[in-house]
């Protein structure tokens, strides 16, 4: 992000007004940088035009890795590396491998997906978030509009659009 970027912030009290406002603001040609909410608002990603998250695909791929790893490990250990007859069964009998395979599939799918989520959303203990308005983790929805991305439009025009679409406050914010 550039220094001295200026943002126009629309503060919304209600999720339904917000959802409608996002549509109106986008229809009027203003590009929304991001919307910050204290809780997940259903349908917000759709009106903002975000593509569906591909995290389920990541989970699936990591799950397959887990399955493969678990089966390879068990067959290698029980069938190739050190054969032992246990309870008169085959060296390697598939049904007894199912529980460990299942657990490792779940473990890798969960950890892999969460890891991708952390990286893609830049979540880490030393991350310093850019807070537009501290109330965005309490009770307000903050719509941030980057004026650099909207240079074609006048700031007062953007403010007007925000007010008419239902924002309870319109503020400006710059980061050093």
């Amino acid at each position: 992000m550039e220094r001295d970027t200026h943002f126009v912030l629309g503060v919304f009290d209600d999720e339904d007004i917000l959802l409608q406002a996002v549509g109106e603001v986008r229809a009027s040609g203003v590009k929304i940088d991001e919307v910050y909410s204290p809780y997940p608002v259903h349908g917000l990603d759709e009106v903002l035009g975000y593509r569906r998250s591909r995290l389920p695909i990541a989970a699936f791929l990591f799950g397959i890795v887990g399955t493969t790893l678990a089966l390879t490990m068990q067959y290698y250990m029980m069938l190739f590396d050190w054969q032992m007859i246990i309870g008169g069964k085959d060296y390697a009998s598939f049904p007894v491998f199912i529980p460990v395979t299942f657990e490792m599939t779940v473990l890798l799918a969960a950890f892999g997906m969460v890891g991708v989520f952390m990286i893609s959303s830049n979540l880490k203990p030393w991350a310093i978030p850019r807070i537009f308005d501290v109330r965005s983790t309490d009770d307000k929805h903050i719509m941030a509009i980057d004026i650099v991305n909207n240079s074609a439009m006048d700031i007062t025009k953007i403010e007007e659009i925000l007010k008419s679409s239902g924002a309870s406050e319109v503020n400006k914010k710059s980061f050093e």
Partner: protein, 454 residues
């Protein structure tokens, strides 16, 4: 836009606004702990300290200090293990299964229930670890690590090894699921705080900013984790039941065990959630979030699972007779009429009869009755495991080797240790972490409260 239902009761009472939710939940994180909290914490820590004497004795002298003998080689250790793991299941059921079923009432109880899961699993895992005698070598016995014995690997045919994988996966996935939910709430605390607290909660919140894109991914992650945790939680107690069911001991070798154990786990877990929640809501003044209707719904789960458990008891008894296998029938006959008859009838009374009282609306909406019955259920479920384990072993095929099991003070002490550990951890959680998932409660507030929309 607003649709207010005239049929459903609000999930959160008292006409709370979004800001009220933040205030009510952050209050005890930010304020000084109350005298009651200090007293409870000192008691829990005292029990922990006392119990740790027994733990040290076990580790120093070996498990010969327990009351086990040649005939009864498994007793309190595995009873306590299964009991604690079972308790943990309710947390995952609330956070994962109820999420998949879109039961929105879970939002105000899932955080504390999941914390309970994690602490209960820690207590449970302690027993298999210490029963190895020399736990510092245990990694070689429990995990497939390369070693200088061959390499002679761990036995993948053994349900005890499956347990290692199941319990550790369950613990790890529950912890991650719980922590992901905590991140937005830590951010809320961070944004209200100053100084050192801001730094600590800032690090805990992982730089969360509440962007719509992150929320979208968060929702996706929650849903997938719930989808993974649901079969996981069923697999965990299934595999725990395999520890018994795959052996050829009369009374253990039954195919009914997996569903029966899972139902029993949920049954006892909900009882423990109720015990904890009834105290927590009172102490932290959260009656508007954990309402009577929450308690009633949890009691309904207890009726359902308790009835499944009751049917399972009767079924296994019937099948033991109907199978015509004499040792099998004797194992059950001995449970009900032998020297441990009192344990059997305690179990039957607490688990089969007492939950049926919840059919009466007055009882299932009464806090005092629910609290009392939740403790009764937990006592009953401890006895269930004791009955299954000890009474099946103490009279085996050779009457000359029949024996009784008597716990020593070390057995009692180690069990006390886990209680101390559980309540110490839970009290620390209740003080320093938001006990209610603020973000998720805010998300369901609108469908439940008219004041917000005005």
């Amino acid at each position: 836009m607003q649709v207010t239902s005239s049929v459903r009761d609000p999930l959160v009472t008292g006409g709370k606004t979004y800001h009220d939710v933040t205030q009510d939940v952050c209050r005890q994180v930010e304020g000084r702990p109350s005298l009651g909290w200090f007293l409870a914490f000192l008691t829990a820590a005292g029990v922990l300290a006392l119990g740790s004497i027994a733990l040290v004795v076990t580790l120093w002298e070996g498990i010969g200090m327990w009351g086990l003998n040649k005939t009864v080689g498994w007793a309190w250790d595995i009873t306590n293990f299964v009991w604690w793991v079972g308790i943990g299941h309710a947390g995952t059921l609330i956070s994962a299964v109820l999420l998949l079923f879109r039961q929105k009432w879970r939002t105000s109880i899932n955080r504390a229930a999941e914390a309970m899961t994690i602490f209960a699993v820690i207590c449970a895992a302690m027993f298999p670890v210490i029963h190895m005698g020399r736990p510092w070598l245990g990694a070689y016995w429990a995990l497939p690590l390369p070693n200088t014995f061959g390499s002679l690997w761990v036995n993948f045919n053994s349900p005890l090894l499956w347990d290692v994988f199941a319990i550790s996966t369950y613990f790890a996935v529950s912890l991650v699921f719980w922590y992901i939910g905590l991140i937005p709430d830590f951010a809320t605390i961070r944004d209200r705080a100053t100084g050192l607290r801001k730094t600590i909660y800032g690090a805990l919140s992982f730089g969360w900013d509440g962007a719509a894109r992150t929320w979208m991914r968060y929702e996706s992650v929650s849903l997938i984790l719930a989808g993974l945790a649901t079969p996981l939680v069923l697999s965990v107690h299934t595999i725990v039941s395999f520890d018994f069911a795959t052996s050829v001991i009369p009374g253990w070798h039954t195919t009914i065990f997996p569903p029966y154990f899972v139902a029993g786990a949920i049954f006892s877990g909900f009882a423990m959630v109720l015990t904890l929640m009834i105290v927590t809501r009172k102490v932290f003044k959260l009656e508007d979030y954990i309402t009577i209707s929450h308690i009633e719904l949890m009691n309904i789960v207890i009726i359902v699972t308790g009835s499944i458990v009751g049917v399972a008891y009767i079924t296994e008894f019937f099948i033991a007779w109907y199978s015509g296998v004499e040792p099998e029938f004797y194992a059950f006959y001995n449970r009900a009429t032998g020297p441990y008859f009192w344990a059997y009838w305690t179990m039957m009374t607490c688990n089969v009869i007492s939950p049926q009282l919840f059919w009466i609306k007055k009882i299932r909406t009464s806090i005092a009755a629910t609290f009392a019955l939740s403790i009764v259920v937990n006592i009953g479920m401890w006895f269930e495991r004791f009955v299954i384990i000890v009474t099946s072993l103490h009279r085996d095929y050779l009457p000359s080797s029949w024996a009784m099991f008597y716990p020593t003070w070390v057995d009692v002490g180690v069990y006390l240790f886990t209680f101390g550990l559980f309540f110490t951890l839970f009290l620390l959680f209740a003080k320093f972490f938001p006990v209610i998932n603020m973000a998720e409660v805010k998300a369901v507030l609108k469908s439940s409260s008219e004041k917000v929309s005005k």
